[in-house]
Symmetry: C2
Subunit: 365 residues, 2 copies
């Protein structure tokens, strides 16, 4: 197979405080100002501690507590710097998306060994936290990206995953978007984040175990059977592009939980062809538009991109997919994680997935 | 050892819609009105579905969506019924605490087998959801209970666990309190809930695995070494009653996360002696008062009581304890579960546990 011609452009820069910045564009990137940074360098010394009963790591980043919080409308660190204005994170110029290292990271690639603490199992908080700015415009939503820009975002998530794997220090990459003041979002400019871990975190480990068990038992990846089953049932599919589709999964934990899946089972975004990425992007845009149309308000949500492990043996059994957790279970009614969800790890959902899917499918978007 | 004289009184009743009610008192219980119920019987047909990637059950209870929500101040279903007033859940009379089956349960002991659904692994939602009313007074907080009433609550949680185990259908009992409008609490009368599962849910399964591994490796229960270690370190202990103590654990996931532990490792509240229950109750009251004193506001929190499995072999290695997750990480700043917490199962905390413990310890309560 010949290498396709590049579908996007990327240029790397270094910020004055040493952090990395990459600008991505559908057209060639052009910078028309200095590369800014919004304040003094931050000394990040993140650490991890072992939770011996939950058998998981907890991240500590004491420098994060005073991070930028609901700034006044005239200051937006994610907008391009204006002439004579307060320094932001991004330059003026021609580009669509931007990625830079979080100024207040929970994990860094060069985290120093921490001092020992009596009674705690501590280690360096090795990993990486990145900010992904979806657009130069401070207004708008992820769903407002053009199909081309949305496909670029898929390429950017794939590119970051490939780059982070290439550091040799990363085992798992989680891209996500957390949207809505209702759920603590501190900056309204459309953006997401990436957390890259030097180990496989609990959720990904659980998914990998389940997918491996399914493959061993059935000889096929879980995703292949799931997609075929959802198409056959026809009860929960919201949108089907052929190469990608969206469903309310039959085991939805959130009332209007929506998954975006490729039809061909792969573990990583970079495994998708250009055509598959475009179909995946169109399906994602459709899913987000449906959630905003549902109650006629911007649905607060968490969107997470689940990819298989990197930096080790390939895991083709891991099902690449996006999970969207909408936080409204009815107009004006938020879903909170209370006793059973947090205390037992088991979700209570007020509505059957088939009913939720029908409501979402019937919307015109 | 002779049986101690009863430290509390309990009387069972049946509500007009068939639900069970138990009134508990430090003095003998006396009822001075009819046993009310606030509305028509609710047809609960809860079901569970299997999440094949997270390998956990999800509960569906479609009748829950329209449950009582922020009623006007003149209607409080958890207050004793007033003469000529709207029916509530509780009678007038002499008692301190009350427990009844939730009118809108996510699980019931007699849940019927559900119809099959194409593409979903379904089964009956067998279990039990109970409401625990902490006081006849609609004002006040759990922390306002007298030491005697707080000890009674420990007895009530123990008694419910014993009764639920005796049904032969329950494997795990989770008592919890979710407090604060910030986290979706719909009724302000001080109360908690109990979820009883017919299986061991993910969090309890993980804790049990970890505790079993520790016991096999070290020959001692984890809790014994943890308590000795925290006392030796002296960095994170908030209050120590001898038979019980509170700490900010060295692996706290929430900024001011507080654990209440018995000094003697046991798996169930019913394993504690009367004296140990009283010390545990005093330590719990102290911990709650500290959290409210911290920022001078009623701290929104989730409190969960972690007990070992019931209805099977005893698990003395399981560490009985209470975990309190305070949702404020600073004055006016809520902790939300975002990308890394929900998408990866890994928490980011802004403050080291030793610092949080010092702040809580320095308070006068």
């Amino acid at each position: 197979m010949t290498q396709p011609s590049p579908t996007f452009h990327a240029e790397d820069f270094e910020k004055p405080d040493g952090r990395e910045l990459t600008l991505y564009g559908l057209e060639p990137v052009r910078v028309e100002s200095e590369i800014p940074t919004p304040g003094d360098p931050v000394q990040a010394r993140p650490v991890m501690r072992w939770h011996p009963l939950r058998s998981e790591w907890v991240m500590y980043a004491a420098h994060r507590l005073n991070r930028t919080f609901l700034p006044p409308p005239d200051y937006n660190p994610l907008a391009p710097i204006q002439e004579g204005g307060h320094p932001t994170e991004l330059p003026r110029g021609v580009y669509d998306l931007a990625v830079f290292e979080n100024r207040f990271p929970s994990l860094t690639l060069d985290a120093p060994e921490p001092e020992p603490v009596q009674g705690a199992v501590v280690r360096a908080g090795v990993g990486r936290c990145e900010v992904v700015v979806f657009s130069q415009s401070p207004e708008g939503r992820l769903a407002d990206l053009t199909p081309g820009q949305m496909t670029l975002l898929i390429e950017v998530w794939a590119d970051r995953t490939t780059r982070l794997a290439a550091t040799g220090k990363i085992r798992s990459v989680l891209a996500f978007e957390n949207r809505g003041v209702e759920v603590g979002v501190t900056l309204h400019h459309p953006h997401g984040q990436i957390y890259a871990y030097d180990h496989i975190p609990p959720v990904q480990a659980r998914l990998l175990d389940s997918a491996r068990g399914y493959m061993e038992k059935n000889g096929r990846p879980w995703l292949a059977d799931f997609v075929a089953g959802e198409r056959a049932a026809g009860l929960r599919v919201l949108h089907d592009e052929g190469a990608a589709l969206s469903v309310v999964p039959p085991f939805a934990r959130y009332t209007y939980e929506t998954w975006v899946l490729p039809a061909r089972p792969v573990a990583l975004l970079s495994d998708l062809s250009a055509e598959e990425k475009a179909a995946f992007a169109r399906t994602l845009k459709d899913a987000l538009l449906r959630l905003d149309a549902l109650f006629g308000v911007r649905m607060p949500y968490l969107l997470t991109v689940h990819q298989g492990p990197v930096g080790g043996d390939p895991h083709p059994e891991f099902p690449l997919h996006i999970e969207i957790y909408p936080y409204l279970r009815a107009p004006g009614r938020m879903k909170y994680l209370a006793g059973t969800e947090q205390g037992a790890g088991e979700f209570a959902n007020d509505k059957l997935p088939e009913v939720a899917a029908q409501e979402l499918r019937n919307l015109t978007v």
